[in-house]
Amino acid sequence: MKQFDYVRPATVAEAVAAAAQPGATYLAAGTNLLDLMKGNVSRPDRLVDVTHLDGLDRIERLADGALRIGALVSNAALAHDAEFAKSYPAIAEALLSGASAQLRNVATVGGNLLQRTRCAYFYDTASRCNKREAGSGCDARDGENRAHAVLGWSESCIATHPSDFCVPLVALDAIVEIEGKNGRREIPLDELHRLPGNTPGRESALEPGDLIVAVRLPAAARGFAAHARYLKVRERTSYAFAIVSAAAALRIENGKIAEARLALGGVAAKPWRARAAEDILKGVAPTADVFQEAAWRALSDAKPSGDNAYKIELARRIVVRTLTLAAAGTPARIPALPASPFASTSGAIHA
């Protein structure tokens, strides 16, 4: 790990000023950053420790019915907040399906949004990676890439965003509050992460010094609580990143889908909102056929980036399944195996 200066600002403004300089990086829980630093993938000159800043670890209900989650709220604290889990069950389930209990105890809301890809060639400093070193090439493109992107990728980069949390968040129109050099601004989460294009190194809309201070769920997000699920296919039962995942949230009125939200994880460089598929679902009865149609629509632009064509079919199937589960209703308690196909549920949900 490279030597660095350690700075512990007292206020958000001090933090932003300290982090705006070249070579500076924010340190929150560090569960991803330290991993990257130990692998020499990230070699910052200065760490700006925001964990001691006041006021960023609160979960607040706002007057307009929105929920504001401070960027330093831990994944575990959020998922285990009873009121939160009841109102946004798919988010809680996604959080609890990620990483391990130890990591969730410290990993923060803000940090989760900004976690880096698990692409092995990004992590391996001896490999060529346009994301790590602009213009160096992409060794994943012809390499071991069965887990890589099938949507939104480019010849420059086929990496995926690994977050579980972001998938239901983006489905529920979460908004990111950012403090920067020019004060506070907010953007939809869907606009935070960028697709790679020719500049995969620019992963987000953040500018130097920008600090995510909160994530906000608009009032409407609560309306899906009765029919919201997150599902994740993994290569072991727990403690594994998604091969593909999906979040589905439905508002069902009089036997019809009044509104649908759908997003995919593990398929692109960003949590992938499937708006066209949502449109298909709006106003119709929740049937297997319409879920199939939505799944085809959600993946209509997908193409393999390597040995991963199966992910397209798998993504279609997980969309159908997640919609089916959501339509069946949110379980009273988050399953013992969150987001797992093996979550104990009653009644046959499989074809």
């Binding site: 698990r118 400093t125 072991r236 403690y239 798998l314 797992s340 196909p341 093996f342 949900i349």
Partner: protein, 753 residues
């Protein structure tokens, strides 16, 4: 480190005190308190930290290292390179005995595999040494890397495993296949796997003049001692190795590898104690692995489902500079009564660290292919897989025709199947579902592992205060040597286990052989048993030759040792305590040595194997293809069970490794660079707690008078065999999709779902 003393306090829950009792681990309290001292926990005064820099290419040469940049980093003391290092007494490329593997200890700038050590940075802090290694920024001259099972011309290795012929046959395989009513011809692939013991390889080396003190996990204290002595040109009695606990070994700590040698060299270079611990990613290279295989099985069966021929060929790899060949096809030697059997191997050389023994080397790899193929043949014959195996039950060892020294496999099949409820299995695949609609499949596999014996010696003593001592340089890597061997020792000297001092785990004790081949308890146990008998004989001499003793005249054969007394066999009212015997003789203690060794005559006459039957249930999501094992039952016959509590744990562990083999483990190698791309524990998947279902183990009673004096066959490795195939076969039974490439990946399954 304080001297380990496992006798002074009740460090365990006692349920009894001798062989066969389910005692809890005697080192349990130390381990649950964090007081068990593993190598990297040592910190002698003045100790420095050494960190290896490793190669990021798989083949070529290091052309430059920025030593100056590393040395500029505050706290860096020195950088050991091929140009700046202590000289070794012998060339590390020379194989001085069959258990010496070539190692990279900076003897040249040549790179022969990725993650090969190319320099060592020594610093005052771990942080400085770690960054120093990065600052070396090596440059290379790169040569094309040989990667994969088709990397080049194949050849037939001179031997496979430890001295087995590469090709063996009995009967006419081609004729058997030609005469068959049904034939299977299938190819199975297994990936490279890495031992990944939880404890990374570590050494703390401390030179004191010409004396060398080493803390290092090793499965072979004496082999390591000998290797260090010859490499550094010092007498073995100047070296002291302490290895009281291994944080897992699985074969990777059996033989001296390069990194600990580098630690000793670094300590010599700087003249201070040095600690060198491998980073997790550095364990994917210089410390061994299980080689990949591609296995072709051709099997014939007649109309009644009797095997007519079994042909098992395995392709594997070794490194470009040394030889170890995974003896995968040998798994077909012992289990099924085919009248014609042929096993053969070939290999290619690749740019990899030399493969090594990894828990059930050959047996595990071969077993998953053989058990899959047998399952396929049972299906082809329209037979239940258990009925098919019973029909082809080997009453004598098929490849040699020798009788088995004992074989309770039929009882394993019966008891395991009954416990599992196998009779309710549908013959057809994809017939069973659970309440949630998940596909359910049941599969089985036969387990087998040879009952081996190595050489060992032990020293026993009985002291004037009525206590005893047993000393043997045995190794506890988790299997429970501190407990099981002490149980054998207690019986051997006729004392309660709390009345003996049991010493193990250091190189100044008698040679216990290696902890490998599932043979450690048998081998060390036999030595302990024999040392105990010898010391009791000496004590008996003192008593029976002394007319003042109530045992006078009983003769050696006329007394038995129990509870600290010698008792006249023909008149149990006449006895005398050890204390009384020694006091009257005016002797402070009596001492004797004993040995354990294979019995060549018995080996000539009998085939010696442990056996078992494993039954597995999996559930598979019918659309998503995710797999979960939900139940496993294993029934094993492994001779005498010294400690059922620990044996159960060993067998559970093996079964989990089998599951891991079938579903999880794989080192993903970049086909261009030869580098392992998942050299970590996040993406090299081993099972987590949630992967492991309720497990059930039955140990089947088996008395074997031939394997060794104690009748022990060993349980360390057999659990993997059978289990891997059982899980794979259960996946087929659940889905109807036969995947022949392991681990079974979702994309392979999806093709058929």
């Amino acid at each position: 480190m304080p001297e380990l003393n496992l006798t002074s306090a009740p460090a365990h829950l006692r349920h009894g005190s001798s062989i066969g009792q389910p005692m809890t681990r005697r080192d349990g309290v130390l381990k649950v308190r964090g007081q068990a001292t593993y190598a990297a926990d040592n910190h002698p005064p003045g100790m420095l930290f050494a960190v290896m820099a490793v190669s990021s290419i798989a083949h070529g040469r290091v052309t430059s290292l920025d030593v100056a940049a590393a040395k500029r980093h505050p706290g860096v003391i020195d950088v050991m390179t091929p140009d700046h290092k202590p000289q070794l007494a012998i060339d590390p490329e020379i194989k001085t005995n069959p258990f010496v593997f070539r190692m990279e200890v900076l003897q040249s700038d040549e790179v022969r595999y990725a993650n090969q050590p190319i320099a060592v940075v020594i610093a005052e802090t771990l942080e400085a040494a770690t960054e120093g290694a990065v600052l070396l920024a090596p440059r290379y001259e790169m040569l094309p890397a040989l990667v994969g099972l088709d990397a080049g011309e194949s050849f037939v290795p001179p031997v496979v495993g430890v001295g087995n012929p590469a090709e063996i046959h009995r009967g006419d395989v081609e004729a058997g296949l030609a005469a068959a009513d049904k034939q299977i011809d299938a190819i199975y692939e297994t990936p490279p796997q890495y031992h990944n013991a939880m404890e990374p390889h570590a050494i703390v080396a401390h030179w004191d003049g010409d004396k060398l003190q080493i803390d290092m996990p090793t499965q072979g204290l004496m082999l390591s001692l000998g290797r260090v002595a010859e490499l550094f040109g010092i007498a073995p009695d100047k070296i002291h190795i302490r290895s009281p606990f291994l944080g897992g070994g699985f074969g990777s700590k059996g033989l001296m590898a390069g990194p600990p040698v580098l630690g000793i060299m670094a300590a010599k270079l700087v003249g201070k104690p040095v600690k060198l611990v491998l980073r997790r990613e550095q364990m994917y290279g210089p410390v061994g692995h299980r080689a990949p295989t591609r296995q072709r099985l051709r099997i014939g069966a007649d109309a009644d489902g009797r095997l007519t021929a079994l042909d098992h060929h395995a392709r594997t790899v070794s490194s470009t500079f040394d030889d170890f060949y995974e003896p995968a096809a040998d798994a077909s030697h012992t289990l099924y009564a085919a009248p014609a059997i042929r096993t053969s191997h070939d290999a290619v050389r690749v740019n990899t660290g030399t493969p090594l023994f990894m828990r059930a080397p050959g047996e595990a790899t071969g077993s998953i292919a053989l058990e899959s193929a047998i399952d396929e043949m049972a299906w082809a014959c329209g037979m239940d897989p258990l009925a098919f195996r019973l029909k082809n039950y080997a009453e004598v060892e098929p490849i040699t025709g020798k009788p088995f020294s004992s074989k309770a496999l039929r009882a394993c099949y019966d008891q395991g199947a009954a416990r599992f409820g196998w009779a309710k299995r549908s013959l057809q695949p994809r017939q069973m579902r659970d309440d949630a609609g998940l596909l359910v499949g049941w599969g089985m596999g036969t387990a087998t592992f040879p009952a081996l014996m190595f050489q060992a010696e032990a020293r026993a003593a009985i002291r004037g205060d009525g206590t005893g001592a047993m000393e043997i340089g045995a190794h506890d890597m988790g299997q429970g040597a501190w407990t099981a061997l002490a149980q054998i020792a207690a019986d051997a000297v006729g004392l309660d286990i709390d009345r003996i001092t049991f010493k193990a785990g250091t190189s100044d004790l008698p040679d216990a052989g290696i902890a490998g081949g599932s043979a450690h308890t048998a081998t060390a146990g036999a030595a302990i048993h024999s040392a105990g008998a010898a010391v009791i004989a000496k004590l008996a001499d003192l008593a029976t030759n002394d007319e003042r003793s109530p045992l006078f005249g009983a003769g050696n054969a006329g007394v038995i040792a129990r509870d600290g007394r010698l008792i006249r066999r023909d008149d149990q009212s006449r006895s005398e305590s050890y204390t009384e015997i020694l006091a009257r003789a005016g002797v402070a203690e009596v001492e004797a040595r004993g040995t354990g060794a294979p019995n060549p005559a018995a080996m000539e006459e009998y085939a010696m194997h442990a056996h078992g039957a494993v039954f597995a249930e999996v559930k598979v999501d019918p659309e998503l293809g995710q797999i979960r094992v939900t139940r496993m039952v294993g029934a094993f016959a492994a001779g005498r069970i010294v400690n059922p509590h620990l044996v159960k744990s060993q067998l559970f562990g093996g079964m989990i490794w089998g599951m891991s083999f079938a579903l999880h483990e794989e080192a993903v190698t970049d086909r261009r660079s030869g580098r392992v791309m998942n050299a970590n524990l996040g993406e090299y998947h081993i099972p987590v707690n949630a992967d492991v279902p309720p497990l059930d183990v039955v140990t089947v009673e088996e008395h074997d008078p031939h394997v060794n004096a104690l009748g022990i066959k060993g349980v360390g490795e057999i659990g993997i065999t059978g289990s891997a195939g059982a899980v794979a076969n259960a996946v087929w039974h659940a889905t109807g999709v036969r995947v022949r490439r392991f681990p079974i990946r979702i994309e392979e399954l999806l093709k058929g779902l």
